[in-house]
Structures are given as C-alpha cells and as structure tokens.
C-alpha cells in the first residue's frame, strides 16, 4: 500500500470497515510511514471528540406535539381539528348557539394566541366543564399534545400536575389530546378524545380536595352527596349534553359529551386505569 492508497483508506480504517487483508496492508504502511500514521491518528481523534462532545438529542416533547398538531391540521377529510369541530358543532344548532352565546357574552374569554385557554367565570365545576367542552368544540381550547397513544398523553400531563391524571385507552378512539390551564392558581387538566362515529368526549380534571373544599372551584351540594354515595354523578343539560362526574384516585373527573349516557359510562368505567 502506498501513501495515496493509505490516504483513501483512512476513513474506513477509522470506522473499522477494512477487510482483514487491507487492514494488514494498512497497518504495515502506518508503521513504516509516520506522516501517514499521524494523519490516521488525527482522524481517529477527530471522530472520537465529535461523538463524545456532540450528543444525539431526543426530540423535545413540545416539538413532537407541535408536529402532530400540524399534521392534524392538514388532514384532508376535515382539514383541521378546529375546522372539524366547527363542522360538527354546526350540525347541532343547539351546541352552536350555546357556544356562540358563551363566546359572545364573554363567559368564555380568550386569552389570545398561543394555546389561549378559555377562562371560566363560574366556579361550578359542572358549568365549567360544559363551557370547556364547547370551547373544545369551537377550537378555542386546543390540546398542546395529541397522540394515538393514551399513555403518551397521560405521561405528558402527569409531569405538570400534583394529582393523578386519568387518560384512558378507549375503544374506537382516533386520538386523544391534553392541555393544562390554571384558574386562580388551581391547576386544571383537559383531555379531549375523538371517538370514531361518536364525536368528541371531553374530560375536565381537578384535584379532589380543590373540588370538595377549595374556594376557586366548587361542586353543587347534591352532586357532592351523590358522588360520595355512589362514586358517580350524572346530569343532562337541556340541549342533551351529558355530564358524568366520577372520582379517579385523588382526582375529580367530569366528562362531557353528546354520546349516549350508557355508552359514556361504559367506556369510562371499564377503561380508566386504576
């Protein structure tokens, strides 16, 4: 092997790709020619410094979520989950009207721009969850993390909450998404499920202590007592939105949907991981 051939083989020698024959020729030349040997060593050092100092990075969670969101937004069938919500909401004039009135009356005020979370003016958790449900339908409440895997969303939400977050792996769920918000310093978690053929299931979550004894959010007395007795509380609004309240560990969950009540309860009671 001459110097020119040696030069051409350096990178493969550094990356351990030489066959045993070439390897032998390579090392005998290296022994005989200090200039070539030095160049080989320098390339080795360079690779080593590089792989030690420049680390492979894991994609930050917010980058990953933003990417999934962006992909959802260009979905051809319903364009965006935003637009999809509008379309769906307007199929039902009652929902549209309620959403529009809330929006117009300022009950749901938008905080502007990045992930503006609507802030409710009513302390009643049931009223709040209905408002957030409408906000989810209009796109005012938009998840910061969306995934097909409930586990991903649970993990994302659990990092920033003191209570146990409930994100269930529901049958026929196309995707689920999550977002946090704060109401006077009380942390709320919002989970949105898109169930194939059934539309949207929204779940409001707050620390149980805050719900029962806090001053920022509150439960109506009858709901408290039914919940304490049976573990569940159910209510239907005049425009047939179903609200189901239940306790998940130290968390109060309030699900809102246009789905059939029985189906909602069946979905939630079976699949909520304990």
């Amino acid at each position: 092997m001459d110097c020119k051939e040696f030069q051409e083989s350096i990178s493969e020698a550094v990356d351990n790709r030489l066959e045993s024959d070439s390897k032998q020729h390579f090392s005998s030349h290296a022994k005989a020619c200090p200039a070539c040997r030095n160049e080989y060593e320098r390339e080795q050092i360079t690779k080593s410094v590089l792989s030690k100092r420049v680390q492979h990075q894991t994609v930050p969670q917010e980058v990953r979520s933003a990417l999934l969101n962006a992909l959802h937004d260009i979905r051809p069938a319903s364009r965006s989950w935003f637009a999809g919500m509008f379309g769906e909401a307007f199929l039902n004039p009652a929902v549209a009207l309620v959403a529009f009135l809330m929006f117009a009356s300022g009950a749901v005020s938008l905080l502007q721009k990045n992930n503006a979370i609507p802030v409710s003016s009513d302390k009643n958790i049931i009223a709040q969850s209905l408002q957030y449900y409408s906000a989810a339908m209009t796109g005012a409440l938009k998840p910061t993390m969306v995934s097909h895997d409930a586990g991903d969303v649970r993990e994302y939400l659990s990092k920033k909450t003191s209570f146990d977050v409930s994100v269930a792996s529901l049958d026929d769920c196309d995707w689920c998404g999550g977002i946090f918000s704060d109401i006077d310093g009380v942390r709320l978690v919002h989970v949105v499920y898109k169930i194939g053929g059934e539309g949207i299931l929204y779940v409001y979550q707050v620390d149980m202590d805050e719900a029962l004894r806090g001053t920022k959010v509150a439960l109506p007395e009858n709901a408290k007592s039914v919940l304490a007795k049976t573990g569940w509380y159910f209510e239907q609004t005049p425009d047939r939105c179903n609200v189901v309240l239940w306790k998940h560990k130290n968390t109060l969950c309030a699900a809102v949907s246009k789905m059939d009540k029985e189906k909602m309860v069946a979905l939630l009671s079976n699949k909520d991981p304990q």
């Binding site: 493969e12 320098r42 360079t46 100092r53 990075q57 379309g87």
Partner: protein, 196 residues
Amino acid sequence: MFAFSLAITNPMTGLHKEFEKEAIPHTDILYNYALRMTGNADDAHDLLQETFLKAYRFWDKYEKGTNVRAWLFRIMKNTYINVYRKAVKEPDTVDYNDIQNFYNIIREDSADANDLQEKLFGHLLDDDVTKALESLPEEFRTVVILCDIEGLTYEEIAEFVECPVGTVRSRLHRGRKLLYAKLYEYAKNRGFVGKD
C-alpha cells in the same frame, strides 16, 4: 369564519394513519440532522415541521417498500438548501505544517491516544466542537453528522445523499480533516493542555 359545509368524516383517514405510522418514527434522526444543520433549536423545529408537511403532501410520490428514512431525509436536505442555507465559506487556507509540527511535539510525550486527545482538545468547550462542525461546507458536514453522530453505515449514508459509497468515504476523510484543522484553531485560542 364558520365552515358550514365541512364534511363530517373520520378525520384519521387510512392515508393519514399510514403516513404517521411510517414517518413519525424517524422524527428523532431528522430533528438531530436539522439541529446540526441550522445550528439552533427554533430553526430545527421549523425545518422538521416543514419537512413532514411536505412529505405528507407528497406521500403519494413515495415508493412503498423503499427506505422511508432516506426519502424523508432528502426532503429535509432539499428544504434546508432552499430555505436555510447560509453562505458557508470554504474554510480559509489552513497551515497544515503548523498543525503537523505541533501534533508531533505533543505526540512525543503522550502515553496513549486518550492522553493525546486530552492534551490536544481537552480545553475545548462543547460549543467549540458544535461551532467547528457547523463551519464545514454542507456536503462534508452532512456525511460527518450522519456517520459520527447518528452512527449510520456508509451504505445508508450513500442512499441518503444519493452518491456512491466511495464518495461517502472520501467526503468523510476530507470533512474530518477540515474539522481537525478547525478544532486545532479553537484549541490554540483556548490554550492547549499540553503547552508548557
């Protein structure tokens, strides 16, 4: 602003599901490449997003069964070249004699390769190394990133950048040589460990 006419269909179409299943697992390597090419997290984020949106738009052009990672990578590289490429000058002429002489002096009293490396580049900051990498011309930088940071084989790199394996080999050699010269320059400014 209200869209009355939108069809209500299952938003997760088969196409969409297939795209996510095939493409999303490669987010990691693409993000890292974007990070090393653009040099900052914000641009890397934008480049990543643009790449995936483009890939989704052209998903019908992707030939099933071929290397989806290489296909995505090429979209990213073209996007980068069209949008983000800053004019990277060919590195200034390097005085290889200077480097060679210093290297020989250090080498004389260094016990082993680790010791040699520590004496040469021990004072370098991680930022220096990143900066040196970013100073390489695009074609060299790409192969060095894919080989030395992402750990791809020569064959896969050849498929990524659409060139023969021999070209990968020579670009790696040239790229690392330029990188060494750059590192040497930074190390000289920081003061070598071995210099008395």
